[in-house]
Amino acid sequence: MFKLRTLAMLAAPIGVVLIASSCDRQPGAVAPGIGKPLAHFQPGNFVCVPVKITGGGRIDYPPEQAEKNPPASHEYETFGAHVMGSGQQDANGVCLADKGALEWVDHRPEMEVNGHPLNLHATEVTFAEVATDASCTDGAVHWGGKLRVQNTGQSDLDFEVWDCDNGEPGRNDGFAISVPAIDYAVQCFTVTPADPTCYLTGGNRQFHPTH
C-alpha cells in the first residue's frame, strides 16, 4: 500500500501538468475597439488564455489616490465584479468570456439620477483577455460586455473594465470602468497601480490564473 500511495502522490502532479499543458494558448486576441490607448493595457498586449478574476470593493474617485475621501463628501463608488474565460476566440479574434457579472454603484452626489445613486448592472459579459503589459503582480484583465443603467432602464450599453490584482492586501489592487454611450468613466491616470485603474480603498480583487 505504501508503494501504491507513493505512486499515487507522484501521479497527481504529473496529471495536473498534463492537463495544464493541454490548454491551447492563443496570444494576440484583442477586445472590441472601445476606449482609448492607455499607458497600460495597450492594444496588442493581451493574451487569450483561461482566466478568472473575482471580488469587489470600493473606489474613492476623484481624486486619484489610495486614501478614502472624507465620508461626508460621498465621493466614492462600490462594486462587485467577476469574469471567467476559457481562452477561446471567436471568428473575429475576440477572446470570449464564459460568464461574468458586474454591479456598480456610484454614490457621488453629482452622479445621482433622480435623487438616487447611479447603478450599473451588467446584462452580458462577452470578452476577457489577460493584459501582459500591466504592472500588476498577480495579474490584470481587460474585460467587458453590455450593461443596463438601472435608474433609467437604458440597456445594451457597451462597457469595458480594466482590472488589476496587485497582490495583498486589496488596497494595492486597481479597477476602472468606462461606458462610452453615456460618457461615463471612472479611470485614474496619475497615481494608479496600472493605468487606467484606480486604487481600491476597500475590498479586494483576486486573479486566478487557473480554474
Binding site: G56, A72, G80, V105, H116, N119, L200
Partner: protein
C-alpha cells in the same frame, strides 16, 4: 471480484484520491450583507439582504426606501456579495452594504452615508480579513456628532440601551480560516426589569436585552 480486479480497483482509487488531497479540497467562502436588520419581540425584519450561496459568484440586492416601524428609516440600500472558493489559486470573499440617509429610533441616531465592507482572502502567501473601506458620514448619536469612530466604539443611549459603532468581529484562526463581520451601527435595546423599593429597602433592577437594530452589515470569510 478476483484479486487482480481488486488490485486494479485499489490502483485506480489510489491514483485518483491524491487529486483531492490538497488543502483546497475544503476551500470555501462565505459572503453576506444587508442594509437593515431589526430584531425585537414584535419585529423580525431584514431589508436589502444578499447572501452568496455555495457555487455562486455574486449576489446583489437593493432597496430605495426602507421603513421598519418607528425604529428605522433608510434610503438607497445596496448589498453586494462576491466570492470564489478556489482550491488552486486561493479563495476570496468581499461583501458590502451601503446606505444613504438613515435615521434610527426617531432621530436618536442619524447618518447620511453608511458603508460596510468586509474582505477575506486566503491562498498564495496571504491569509487575512479586513474592513477597509467602511465609513459613516455625518453621524450624530444622541445629539453628538461622531467622526471616524474607531472599531467597536461604544456609546450609551440612556433609556434605550447602547450602540456599538464600526463594530468589527473577527473570526477564524488567521492561518487556515479567516473572516470578519462589520456592523457599522449596532444598537442593543435594553429595558430595566425588576427592582424597586419595599419595607426592607431597595433592590436594583436588571438591564435586560430586548432586541437589536443593525444598519450596514457585511460579513466575509474564507477557508
Amino acid at each position: 471480484m478476483n484479486i487482480d480486479n481488486f488490485r486494479r480497483a485499489v490502483l485506480i482509487v489510489g491514483l485518483a484520491l491524491p487529486m483531492s488531497w490538497t488543502a483546497g479540497s475544503v476551500a470555501a467562502q462565505t459572503a453576506r450583507s444587508y442594509g437593515v436588520k431589526v430584531s425585537t419581540p414584535t419585529i423580525n425584519q431584514t431589508a436589502s439582504s444578499a447572501v452568496l450561496p455555495p457555487g455562486a459568484d455574486m449576489v446583489t440586492n437593493s432597496g430605495q426606501s426602507i421603513v421598519v416601524g418607528s425604529l428605522v428609516t433608510a434610503q438607497d440600500a445596496f448589498a453586494i456579495v462576491t466570492g470564489d472558493a478556489d482550491a488552486t489559486d486561493g479563495s476570496n470573499a468581499v461583501s458590502s452594504a451601503t446606505l444613504g440617509a438613515v435615521s434610527l429610533l426617531s432621530g436618536l441616531i442619524t447618518a447620511d452615508g453608511v458603508v460596510a465592507v468586509a474582505s477575506s482572502t486566503i491562498g498564495g502567501n496571504a491569509t487575512g480579513s479586513d474592513a477597509e473601506g467602511s465609513s459613516l458620514a455625518n453621524l450624530v448619536v444622541n445629539g453628538e456628532s461622531v467622526s471616524y469612530p474607531a472599531p467597536n466604539t461604544w456609546m450609551a443611549l440612556p433609556g434605550v440601551g447602547y450602540v456599538v459603532l464600526n463594530e468589527q468581529i473577527p473570526t477564524g484562526d488567521g492561518v487556515t480560516t479567516s473572516g470578519i463581520t462589520v456592523n457599522m451601527i449596532h444598537v442593543v435595546l435594553q429595558s430595566l426589569t425588576g427592582g424597586g423599593c419595599g419595607l426592607l429597602g431597595c433592590l436594583p433592577g436588571v438591564l435586560t436585552t430586548t432586541g437589536e437594530i443593525i444598519v450596514g452589515s457585511a460579513t466575509s470569510s474564507v477557508q
